[in-house]
Amino acid sequence: MIEVVCNDRLGKKVRVKCNTEDSIRDLKKLIAAQTGTRWDKIVLKKWYTIFKDHVSLGDYEIHDGMNLELYYQ
C-alpha cells in the first residue's frame, strides 16, 4: 500500500492510499472520490509526462509519497 499525494496547485491536495498494482484509472477514481470531480476529467501528470490510464502504478514506478500533478481536461 502506498500513499500518493496529488496536488493541483489551486487548493486541492489529496493523499490517496492505494496499492502498487492499481492502475492509474483506479487511482483517478480514488482521487475523484476524494476531490469531487469526475475521474475521466482528471489528468495526472509529472512535468510533461501524462500518466495513462491502463498502466499500473508499479509500472510507472510511482512509489510511496510521490507527488503527482493534478490537472483537468
Binding site: M1, G11, K12, K13, A32, A33, T35, D64
Partner: protein, 848 residues
C-alpha cells in the same frame, strides 16, 4: 475537509444525496446518479457519522455516534433553515439519521433517555460546538487549501475501493521508510564496530583452518632442531655408516647381476652403441667441400687468417650455404657506398669502349647497363672450396695471363688519328697532282708576240687607222661619220639598208678590234707540236664564242650607229627649223622603217605598253593645243601617237583617238539638243512636263528620310531577330543565276562622283552623331540594348541637352533679367533698391 464537502454541496444545484459532511459519501454522491440517492443516503449518513467520527475519533468515539447523529441532525436542521433544497437534504438526512439512529444507538438504548436529555442539553452545546466546528471546519478547509492534504483512512479507503470494485488495500506491504517527509523517524543505527568484529572473526577462523591443513602437510618433514641419535653417539654413528655401506654393496651386486643378465640376452651391445654414438658426429674439414665462399680469392692475402662464417639466410630458403667473412663484407659495402656517393654519371652513351671481352670473346652489347643490378640481381663474386676445404688461386692466375697475352695482340682500329695539315706540299704530292706546266708558259708568250710584232706591221697602213687614235670628246659616232662620208659616195648606190654595211670597226677600242682581227686572221702554224692539240681545241671553242659575241656587239653598235647616222643626215637636211626635240625625231625616225612594215620591239616600248593607259597623257601641256593644230598636223600627231611604240600607247592610243572623236561628236550633239528641246517637251505629255519641271528644279526630288520606327528600349526578343547568312544559299538553282563574269564600271558613269551623306535619326527625330549611330547599330545587331543604368544616364544627358537648347541666351537660367525688368515695371523706376537686412532679401521680395 468535511466542511469543504458541505460547501461544494451547497454550490451544487443537482439534488445530491445527503452526505453533507461525509467526504467519501459526498464524493461518491455527486459522482453517481441521483436515482440511487436513497442507497447512499444511509451510507452517507454513516459516512457523515464516520467522517465526523473520524474527526473526533481520537477522543470520543461512541459519544460521537450519538453526538454525531445529533449534531448531524442539528446541523441538518440549521441547514434546513437556509434553503429548501437543503431542507430536502436535511429531511433525507434526518430520515437517514433516524434510520441510523436506532441502529446506532441500539446498544446504548439505556443511556438514550438520559442521553437524550443530556443530548438536548448537549445539543445546544453541540450546536455551539458545531458552529465552532463549522468555523473550525472552514478554518481547516482554508488550511487544506494552503497546504494540508485531504486523506482518507485505510478503512475509508477500503470502503471506497469496495464501492469502486477494487481490491482492498494491502496493508502488509507498507514501506518502512521511516515515515514521510513530514514526520521523519530515526533510522536503524548501523553499528560499524560490530560489523568489523564480525569480519575479523571470520578471517581468523579462515586462517586457523588453513594453518591446520598446512601443519598436517608439513608435519612429516623433520625440522632442524630435531635430533638424530647417531650424531651425538659414536656407536650409533658407526652403526649407521655400516648400514650405509651394506646398502651400497647390495646395490652393486644387484647392478652386476643385472648386467650379467643383459649380457646373456645380448642387449649390452645395443646399450653401448647408444652411449657411444654421440662421439662420432663431429664436424671436420672434409665437410667443407663444395661450399662457396662469397669473396674473391684475391681478397685473401697470404699469411693472414680470416674467419669465415655462414651467411645469413632466411629460414625457409633452401639454397646452399655460403661462407663469408664479416669484415670483408663490411669493407665491400663501404667501398660500394663510396662509389655511389661519387655520383658518377649514370648514362654514358659511348662507354662501351671495346666490343671484345678480355678473353677475346665478343662482349654483348648492353643497353642501360645501370639497371642490370636492380633487374637481374646483384652478381656476387665467389669460389668453391675443393676437397678438404681448400682453394687455390692458380686457375685465376692462369686466366689472367691469358687475358694479358690476348690484349697485347690486339690491334686497334683507331688509325693514326687526325693531324694538322701541312701548309706546303711534299715532293710526293707534287709529283702526283700536277702535270708539266711548261707548255702553258710557252703558249702565253706566243700570244703576246703576235700582238706586238705582227699587229703593228699589219695595221700600219690599214684604212682603219687614220692616225686618229680616238678621243673621248669626239665620241664614237664621229669616227664613223668621217668614215661614212669618206665611203658614203661609194655606198649610196648600194642598198641603204644599214645592216649590210661592210664591217669597219666602229669603236675606238683598237685593241679589242685588233684582237678580234688578229684572232680572225691568225693562221695556225702548221708545224704545231702535238702537245698543242688540246690547246687548239680550247682555242677553237674560244674563237667561236668570241666570234659570236663580237657579231652581236657589232650588230648592236651598227644599229645604234645607223640610227645616229640617219639622225645626223636629217639634221643636216632639215636644218635648225625643227626643234631639237629628240622626242619627236626618233619617233619619226622610227616611223619610217615602221611605215615600211617592220615592227621594232624595244624594251622600253614593251614596258610602256604594259603600263597601260596613262590618264595624264596629253594633259601636261607639253603637246601642242589640239585647236591650234590643223587637221593634218593632228593626223600626224595621231599617227605619231598611234604608231609610236616607244611611248607604249599602241593599243590605248588607237582607242583614245577614237574616243576623242566620239567625245567631240557627242559634245556637239548635246549642246545642240538642250537649246532646242524646251518647248516641244511640254506638248508631248505629262512625263515630259515632269521632266521639264525637274530640270528646272521646280520639283523636290530629294527623298525625305522617314523617321525610324521607335526602337524598343527593352532588348529585342531574339526569336524575332535573325542574322541572314548569305553563304547559306546553296541550292544549285539559285547558284546558276549568279553572275560570275568580269564586271566593269560603266563608261557613262566615269565622271559621276556622287556626294553621299547618310544621316541617322533616333526615335525622337534627332540627328545622331557617328558614335550614337554606331551604338544604335550595335544594339540592333546584338539584339540587346543597354542596361537600366546606361539608359538612364543617356536619358539624363538628352534631357540636359534639351534644357541647354531651351536655355535663353540672353538671360540667366533663373530668369533673373526678366524678373528684374518686371520689378522695375512695378516700381516704375529704372533701378532696384537693394536695401534692408538679410531677412528682407529673401526670394519673396525678388520674385514677382
Amino acid at each position: 475537509m468535511g466542511s469543504s464537502k458541505k460547501h461544494r454541496e451547497r454550490g451544487e444545484a443537482a439534488a445530491a444525496p445527503g452526505a453533507g459532511s461525509g467526504t467519501a459519501g459526498g464524493g461518491a454522491g455527486p459522482a453517481e446518479d441521483p436515482p440511487p440517492a436513497s442507497a447512499p443516503a444511509p451510507a452517507s449518513a454513516s459516512a457523515s457519522s464516520s467522517s465526523s467520527s473520524s474527526r473526533h475519533r481520537e477522543h470520543k468515539k461512541h459519544k460521537h455516534r450519538g453526538g454525531g447523529s445529533g449534531s448531524g441532525s442539528g446541523s441538518s436542521e440549521r441547514r434546513g433553515k437556509r434553503s429548501r433544497s437543503r431542507g430536502e437534504r436535511s429531511r433525507r438526512r434526518s430520515g437517514g439519521d433516524e434510520a441510523a439512529a436506532p441502529g446506532g444507538s441500539s446498544s446504548r438504548g439505556h443511556g438514550r433517555a438520559g442521553e437524550r436529555g443530556a443530548a438536548e442539553a448537549e445539543g445546544g452545546r453541540r450546536a455551539k460546538r458545531e458552529r465552532r466546528e463549522d468555523g473550525h471546519e472552514t478554518a481547516t478547509a482554508l488550511k487544506s487549501g494552503s497546504g494540508e492534504a485531504l486523506s482518507l483512512s485505510i478503512e475509508e479507503t477500503n470502503k471506497l475501493r469496495a464501492k469502486l470494485g477494487l481490491k482492498p488495500l494491502e496493508v502488509g506491504t507498507i514501506k518502512k521508510e521511516a515515515g514521510t517527509k513530514e514526520d521523519p523517524m530515526a533510522a536503524d543505527v548501523i553499528n560499524p564496530m560490530a560489523l568489523r568484529q564480525r569480519e575479523e572473526i571470520r578471517e581468523k577462523l579462515a586462517a586457523a583452518k588453513e594453518k591446520r591443513l598446512l601443519n598436517q602437510k608439513l608435519g612429516k618433514i623433520k625440522a632442524l632442531g630435531e635430533d638424530d641419535p647417531w650424531l651425538d653417539d659414536a656407536a650409533a654413528w658407526i652403526e649407521r655408516s655400516r648400514k650405509l655401506q651394506q646398502e651400497k654393496d647390495l646395490a652393486e651386486k644387484r647392478a652386476k647381476l643385472l648386467e650379467e643378465m643383459d649380457q646373456e640376452f645380448g642387449i649390452s651391445s645395443l646399450v653401448e652403441e647408444e652411449f657411444g654414438q654421440r662421439k662420432k658426429d663431429s664436424y671436420s674439414s672434409r665437410d667443407l667441400q663444395g661450399l662457396t665462399v662469397e669473396h674473391t680469392i684475391e681478397s685473401f692475402q697470404e699469411g693472414e687468417t680470416l674467419v669465415l662464417t655462414l651467411k645469413d639466410k632466411g629460414v625457409l630458403v633452401e639454397e646452399e650455404d655460403v661462407l663469408v667473412n664479416v669484415n670483408l663484407v663490411d669493407k665491400e659495402k663501404a667501398d660500394k657506398n663510396v662509389e655511389l656517393r661519387k655520383k658518377k654519371p649514370d648514362y654514358e652513351p659511348y662507354s662501351q669502349d671495346e666490343s671484345v671481352d678480355d678473353m677475346a670473346q665478343a662482349k654483348p652489347r648492353v643497353l642501360l647497363a645501370k639497371y642490370d643490378e636492380t633487374l637481374g640481381g646483384l652478381r656476387r663474386p665467389g669460389f668453391r672450396l675443393a676437397a678438404g676445404g681448400e682453394a687455390d688461386g692458380t686457375a685465376q692466375r692462369e686466366l689472367q695471363q691469358v687475358r694479358e697475352a690476348l690484349r697485347s695482340q690486339a690491334q686497334s682500329l683507331a688509325g693514326p688519328g687526325p693531324r694538322l695539315a701541312a701548309e706546303y706540299l711534299t715532293p710526293e704530292e707534287m709529283s702526283v697532282t700536277f702535270r708539266k706546266p711548261k707548255q702553258r708558259v710557252k703558249r702565253l708568250r706566243r700570244k703576246e708576240k703576235l700582238l706586238t710584232a705582227e699587229d703593228l706591221l699589219a695595221l700600219g697602213p690599214a684604212p682603219s687607222d687614220h692616225g686618229d687614235h680616238g678621243s673621248r670628246s669626239r665620241g664614237r659616232g664621229r669616227r664613223q661619220r668621217v668614215q661614212e662620208e669618206g665611203e658614203g659616195e661609194s655606198q649610196e648606190e648600194a642598198d641603204e639598208d644599214p645592216l649590210e654595211d661592210p664591217p669597219p670597226p666602229p669603236s675606238d677600242d683598237t685593241r679589242v678590234e685588233n684582237m678580234d682581227i688578229s684572232s680572225d686572221d691568225e693562221a695556225l702554224p702548221p708545224g704545231s707540236p702535238p702537245v698543242l692539240e688540246e690547246d687548239e681545241a680550247e682555242q677553237e671553242l674560244q674563237k667561236q664564242l668570241e666570234k659570236g659575241r663580237r657579231l652581236r656587239q657589232l650588230q648592236q653598235l651598227r644599229e645604234g650607229g645607223d640610227k645616229v647616222a640617219e639622225a645626223v643626215r636629217r639634221l643636216a637636211r632639215a636644218g635648225p627649223g625643227l626643234d631639237a626635240d629628240m622626242g619627236v625625231e626618233p619617233e619619226e625616225a622610227g616611223a619610217e622603217p615602221e611605215r615600211k612594215g617592220a615592227i621594232v620591239f624595244n624594251a622600253t616600248s614593251e614596258f610602256c605598253r604594259t603600263l597601260g593607259e596613262i590618264p595624264t597623257y596629253g594633259l601636261a601641256g607639253n603637246r601642242e593645243d589640239p585647236q591650234d593644230l590643223l587637221d593634218f598636223e593632228r593626223d600626224e600627231e595621231r599617227s605619231v601617237t598611234g604608231a609610236s611604240g616607244s611611248d607604249g600607247e599602241e593599243n590605248m592610243g588607237w582607242s583614245t583617238v577614237n574616243l576623242d572623236e566620239e567625245k567631240q561628236q557627242q559634245d556637239f550633239s548635246a549642246s545642240s539638243t538642250t537649246i532646242l528641246d524646251e518647248e516641244p517637251i511640254v506638248n508631248r505629255g505629262l512625263a515630259a512636263a515632269l521632266m521639264l519641271c525637274q530640270n528646272k528644279g521646280l520639283l523636290e526630288t530629294t527623298v525625305q528620310k522617314v523617321a525610324r520606327v521607335k526602337a524598343p528600349n527593352k532588348s529585342l526578343p531574339s526569336a524575332v531577330y535573325c542574322i541572314e547568312d548569305k553563304m547559306a544559299i546553296d541550292d544549285k538553282y539559285s547558284r546558276r543565276e549568279e553572275y560570275r563574269g568580269f564586271t566593269q564600271d560603266f563608261k557613262e558613269k566615269d565622271g559621276y562622283r556622287p556626294d553621299v551623306k547618310i544621316e541617322y535619326v533616333d526615335e525622337t527625330g534627332r540627328k545622331l552623331t557617328p558614335k550614337e549611330a554606331f551604338r544604335q547599330l550595335s544594339h540592333r545587331f546584338h539584339g540587346k540594348g543597354s542596361g537600366k543604368m546606361k539608359t538612364e544616364r543617356r536619358m539624363k544627358k538628352l534631357d540636359e541637352e534639351a534644357l541647354l537648347k531651351k536655355m535663353s541666351s540672353s538671360d540667366t537660367p533663373l530668369g533673373t533679367v526678366a524678373l528684374l525688368q518686371e520689378k522695375q515695371k512695378a516700381q516704375k523706376t529704372p533701378y532696384i533698391v537693394l536695401s534692408g537686412s538679410g531677412k528682407s532679401m529673401n526670394a519673396n521680395t525678388i520674385t514677382k
